[in-house]
Symmetry: none
Subunit: 231 residues, 4 copies
């Protein structure tokens, strides 16, 4: 456990400064001079490490995204059940975004709408992770956890869209302290979606939805054997 505390290299300093400035003022309104000053180096030094202002921009998520998704990929396989896997993936996202607000501001507000970003390794990592999520959903459909007629793309958009929407609004409002933090909204979110797409079969024996006024009828049913509802 002997931690090698890597001393921050100049390259790291520049990226840190750039993340800070880009997140605060946007890519176009940030200047190299401002970034280099924040990093404590000269303009020219920035160009020693990054060919272009845009290269610098794209280098930032590359480092962070790579680390995160590698960590994510190591954990996911150990989780059993698609619902648990999905929860884990989304939790990674939320924690990444929440623990590094500058990063999430950058990705969600600057990069997502940048077409050239779609061709960077960082975006490839994001896409890959997004694909893992999609596969989990498909797996859930295949193994009967979720309804057969669920649209996995829609479900993924529901997860990612909701989370991104929450973060975007959080950022646009100046990142106020939230009573229910966004992480705390994950389970309610999952509950709603899973509840909406979960297969509810009587005989297979998973879950039962019933209304209490049917209690009498239910009692009878139960004495015979099983029964369920669907939406």
């Amino acid at each position: 456990m002997a931690d090698k505390i890597k001393p921050k290299t100049r390259k790291d300093l520049i990226m840190d400064a750039a993340l800070c400035i880009f997140a605060e003022k946007g890519f176009q309104n940030a200047t190299i001079t401002e970034i280099s000053k924040e990093a404590g180096v000269s303009d020219a030094t920035v160009y020693e490490y990054f060919g272009t202002k845009e290269d610098l921009l794209f280098a930032i998520p590359e480092r962070i995204t790579k680390d995160t998704f590698e960590a994510s990929a190591k954990v996911i396989p150990y989780i059993k059940g698609v619902e648990g896997k999905i929860r884990a993936i989304l939790l990674f996202y939320i924690q990444l975004y929440q623990s590094n607000p500058n990063y999430s501001a950058l990705v969600l507000l600057q990069l997502m709408s940048n077409k050239r970003f779609r061709q960077t390794p960082a975006h490839t990592a994001i896409r890959k992770s997004s694909h893992v999520l999609l596969d989990c959903i498909r797996e859930g459909i295949a193994d009967g956890t979720f309804k057969k007629d669920s649209n996995p793309y829609l479900v993924r958009s529901m997860f990612m869209g909701t989370i991104e929407h929450l973060f975007i609004h959080w950022h646009m409002q100046g990142m106020p302290k939230r009573k229910p933090s966004i992480a705390e909204l994950l389970d309610p979110l999952l509950e709603i979606v899973f509840d909406g797409i979960r297969a509810k079969k009587a005989d297979s024996g998973t879950t039962l939805y019933l209304k209490l006024e049917d209690a009498g009828a239910l009692a009878k049913i139960l004495q015979k054997k099983g029964g369920g509802t669907t939406s």
Copy 2:
């Protein structure tokens, strides 16, 4: 109902051109010269109508958004039931975005992350509409349509986030023809969310989740009186 076909004013021509260029290249990468050329006027003429480039940017959603939400506001009151109202509101959004891709590209990719946009009349209209949606959700909770413990903010984010996510991805992929158009995904989306937040019983509103192997225990409970929840 004699339609006044308004002849396109110079102002409209400029806004049309600007919408087109802004959507295609982004606000920062668009130039006034390019827009004025597209509009068939001179650079200086643009400044006759709009004080700054940003004023021009903000003027575009103002016109469109206002019209749309006025139309929306007229229709909503006539719809009975929160689920129907919510559906109507979201359909307005989707149709607006889908029928005017340049507009949705502008709003979703350029404006949403612009802090100054939040202080424009156009954003006020959007916020108002967003508030109507929130009110519908709250109404649904209050009238027992939705579960008492639903988080209306989360639910709204689910609706809006999902729809925006679908449109953003559609734009980023070059707006391909989709097999299920985004409009066609509205009902599946609603079904999942409503199913996830709908109160399972009209009068009491509590919900019971149980597993069938507890059927025996349940039968006893039911005979006494009761109910519980599981996730």
Copy 3:
């Protein structure tokens, strides 16, 4: 003879200033700021008229060269005899170079060694003029004025090379007043070259080299047969 004195346009002012600065300091060492200041306009104004610093460079000889060679082309046809034509062409060059030292400095010292200049209209005009000169030499060979075995390319290089060499050295020495001006050297130059390539006799054209001390032997030979020419 009503002269329209064209007022110098801004474009002309810029080109004049640029010619001046480029000739003095060289293309690479001249700055747009310096030129625009000399022209009494702003940097940006230079770019209103010329897309690039290099465009500005190439625009200068275009104007001058075009005028000169048009004038030249009008006069040449009226001159009879290839020697007269050649003299006229070279005189045009010399007068152009001499009356506009900045221009000749630019062309001879900056542009001649610029590969991209070779693809400009100005260079096309120069090439055309150079071709006219070559044609005159060929014509002289064809019509018996010059020796059949003269190499027209070499002869052209002798004319142009000599003139350019004289001007280059004149420039490199700071354009001193010359006792024999370069124009005054034209006739001596022509005399030497023409004398060297002129056919000594129309019909036979073989050449004899002999030394006078062999006069006695020659006399005998001649009484038997023959006679010849030398170059």
Copy 4:
């Protein structure tokens, strides 16, 4: 004749690389980084040997020019007759330029128009050689080989200007294989110039120009005493 194969020093490597790059892209468009990479050393090493980029530029012709003109100076005195001497000097130039295209490109296209180059030792050597050429011409005038009224400066410019012109064009056209190589044009060049400036006196007894059909007349003349022609 035991050759000392000098191992290429780092300094030589750098100069070789620089010659190569300068010739190809021009002084201004070449970068130290490019040169040092080509030489296999670091940027800083270049500055170990050469104070500035321009020093490096000027160092290149110094080495080559010195060697050449020393060799030239050793040979010339052994040649009898000014025409032979002139021929030898020009042949040295041509062979130098032709055998080392990068060098000639550098000298003719980059250095000739550089005012500071005129103050370098390399240029002094060139000037010295040029002066030897001038002295030969003067000697020819003085000893009656050439016409008394010949302008030695003009004659020198004719030699040097023609040769340089031929080489410049050869370079600007991408150094194509020439049918008559430039070296092969030397004698035709000399023939034309010498023919144009050679003193042609009957009594002094040098050369005779005559046409064969005049043979009869000539025979008579010769029996009296000499005769010549002029242009």
